[in-house]
């Protein structure tokens, strides 16, 4: 799926650190947030700023602290240290019902005893908006989420996708400075989820509001976001555009977590100022660029990541720096995403994307095939805890 019309003020500029966005143009800024539960630190010194009108995702595995971070932004949890600013003003002492932030809950939390219109009107009523204005605002927002006739329906009459849109409408009708979304697509089935990814992105464009999106699903984060923060063990590993994360991961965690990768462990056997040569225990030798992290000294252990889609298969492998002869272990057919599992002479097994040409036809189990890798495709990080 191709992302079109991606934009946003920061998409073009690739800032290395999120703090570069100054507080005045940021809708939401967190400074050195820390949250502990007993001896466990759930959020560990996290700082970032989100520019106005952008779609910002926090991506991480479950238990990484992203939900705690979100709850602090919404006001349901209080940080032990640090500050949260919305439009430049600290909101630490503002209770959730008065923060200009709204939350779309993981299971949406639509009120089952109210109709769709009543759900949407709930927040406006609390503000004391005149009745006529409420009716107009509800009709307007229902139109914008594409469900103009849903007002009198009961919540249980809606489909999963419709509920999703109503949950967003219910929050957006209050015109928040920031909309927080807590894995709202998690409960949907695969097809609908794919569809809703596009729809969410379009809705964000439509409203022009800053979205902060929490997810453990990298494809959601990559596809929708202007910028993504990859979170692990309470810390931000890297903040950047999806392209940066994909092409230039700064840590081994990001390289492994964002996109697919074959992960191998290798030792430096030769190095100069422009590149190095690495060897796995099984005897596979690869020429690579300089490591992303750590200095390539002979004998140093490195984790190397090779994306399946960066491996040339068959005739395309001819001119590659690293040319490997492999035997196909298995073919995993999945249309455009089909892959082969190939065993290298030393015994390492790697995954490679099946070429989208007739050349793929004779590739089947037990057939020998040539694989090629450019030095740029071998991304390495100094191994930790080796």
């Amino acid at each position: 799926m191709k992302r079109e019309g991606r934009g946003g003020p920061t998409a073009a500029s690739p800032p290395e650190r999120s703090n570069d966005v100054d507080s005045f143009s940021a809708d939401l800024e967190c400074r050195n947030l820390i949250k502990r539960f007993g001896s466990f630190t759930a959020v560990d010194d996290v700082s970032f700023a989100i520019p106005k009108g952008s779609f910002f995702s926090i991506l991480g595995p479950s238990g990484c602290g992203k939900t705690t971070l979100l709850r602090m932004m919404a006001g349901f949890a209080r940080p032990d240290a640090g500050d949260i600013l919305i439009k430049g003003a600290s909101v630490l002492d503002t209770p959730p019902n008065r923060r200009p932030v709204n939350l779309v809950f993981q299971h949406l939390a639509l009120f089952p005893m109210m109709t769709v219109a009543e759900n949407i009107a709930y927040g406006l009523r609390r503000r004391g908006t005149p009745r006529a204005d409420i009716a107009r605002a509800v009709a307007d927002v229902l139109g914008r989420v594409g469900l103009p006739d849903a007002g009198p329906k009961q919540i249980d009459q809606l489909s999963g996708g419709q509920k999703q849109r109503i949950a967003i409408a219910r929050a957006m009708v209050l015109d928040p400075a920031v909309l927080l979304l807590d894995e709202p697509l998690g409960a949907l089935d695969l097809k609908l989820r794919e569809h809703m990814k596009i729809e969410l992105k379009q809705l964000q464009h439509e409203f022009g509001t800053t979205f902060v999106y929490i997810t453990h699903d990298q494809s959601e984060a990559m596809m929708m976001s202007d910028r993504v923060a990859v979170m692990n063990a309470g810390r931000f590993e890297q903040v950047g555009t999806p392209e940066e994360l994909y092409f230039r991961p700064q840590t081994a965690f990001v390289a492994g977590f964002v996109g697919d990768a074959n992960k191998l462990r290798a030792k430096v056997i030769a190095a100069d100022g422009t590149g190095c040569k690495l060897a796995t225990d099984q005897g596979l030798t690869l020429a690579a660029g300089l490591p992303r992290k750590g200095v390539a000294e002979v004998g140093g252990m490195f984790d190397i990541f090779i994306r399946p889609e960066s491996i040339a298969v068959g005739t395309a492998a001819q001119d590659s720096t690293n040319r490997l002869e492999a035997v196909i272990e298995d073919v995993l057919f999945n249309g455009a995403q089909s892959r082969i599992l190939a065993r290298l002479p030393g015994g390492d097994v790697i995954e490679a994307l099946l070429p989208q040409s007739g050349e793929a036809e004779p590739l089947r189990r037990g057939v020998s095939v040539a694989l090629g890798l450019g030095p740029g495709s071998v991304v390495s990080f100094a191994a930790t805890g080796a």
Partner: protein, 285 residues
């Protein structure tokens, strides 16, 4: 297929027998009895005189009205006291505390109703614990009588029915996603609006189920109002008892019984109507 039928009948038969023997047949018998007019010893006619007798004197309709009004007050009080308790047990208490609190609600039911009522009599009477404590603390100069009045009836009824309000409330509130409350705050509600717009409407099936049970229990209670109530604290069930047992007037007693049944059915129907609930989604859950 035939075996399935057999199993069905084996399972259904005890239930049907129970319904027929203990509910339907006695009620039919009562209905016939209530339509029997006593003319002379062992001479009877059929007619509505017993029902007319009910309406002829102010005593019986007044007692019925009093009973209904006090049962409603007792139900409302039980809800007001029981709701925070149920909410605490369902949403705030965790693990062992939760189980312990639930047991605590159950505790009064380990003794019979009459013991519970005597307990209250010991506390409330003029020479009882509360009166003595007040005198001891110098708050009052003389003994104070808390027993034998309508407030004592209400205390007894609320105490006796509390569990029946709390259990359905806990089961509905327990099923509520905490996110609903958070969403209520997040969208700008305060504690009061979250309570009245979200928690209470959500718990409505439980509230109605609890209210129906508590109301019926209060309306049909005999011991508590009789023992705790004052000299004017007549309860309608005491009238029925007195017609059956003291006056040997089973005919009028049966008529009273049917009038009570009709009244409570009508009130429950009204409650369901007003709250927009149905029997199946409240008591049938």
């Amino acid at each position: 297929m035939r075996e399935g039928k057999l199993v069905f009948w084996l399972l259904f038969a005890p239930f049907a027998a129970w319904i027929a023997l203990l509910i339907v047949i006695p009620h039919i018998d009562m209905l016939i009895l209530s339509l029997r007019e006593k003319v002379a010893p062992r001479v009877y006619e059929t007619g509505f005189r017993n029902y007319a007798d009910f309406a002829a004197s102010w005593v019986y309709p007044w007692t019925l009205l009093r009973t209904v009004v006090f049962s409603i007050i007792a139900t409302v009080l039980t809800f007001i006291i029981g709701f925070p308790v149920a909410y605490y047990i369902a949403k705030i208490a965790q693990g062992r505390t939760k189980a312990a609190l639930f047991m605590l609600c159950l505790l009064p039911f380990w003794v019979s109703e009459i013991v519970r009522v005597f307990g209250w009599m010991l506390l409330l009477r003029e020479t009882g614990l509360i009166s003595n404590a007040l005198q001891g603390l110098g708050i009052t100069s003389g003994p104070v009588e808390f027993l034998y009045n309508d407030a004592a009836i209400l205390i007894g009824l609320v105490y006796t029915s509390m569990l029946f309000m709390i259990v359905p409330l806990i089961s509905t509130i327990d099923g509520m996603d905490d996110a609903l409350v958070e969403a209520g705050y997040d969208l700008g509600g305060n504690g009061w609006t979250v309570l009245t717009r979200i928690v209470i409407p959500y718990a409505m099936p439980g509230i109605i189920a609890g209210s129906i049970v508590v109301f019926m229990l209060a309306l049909g209670n005999y011991l508590t109002p009789t023992l705790l109530g004052g000299k004017s604290g007549q309860w309608f069930t005491a009238q029925i008892y007195s017609q059956f047992i003291t006056r040997f007037n089973w005919e009028l007693g049966s008529a009273f019984g049917f009038i009570l049944l009709a009244t409570s059915s009508a009130l429950v129907w009204l409650l369901l109507r007003l709250s927009g609930q149905s029997l199946s989604n409240t008591l049938g859950r």
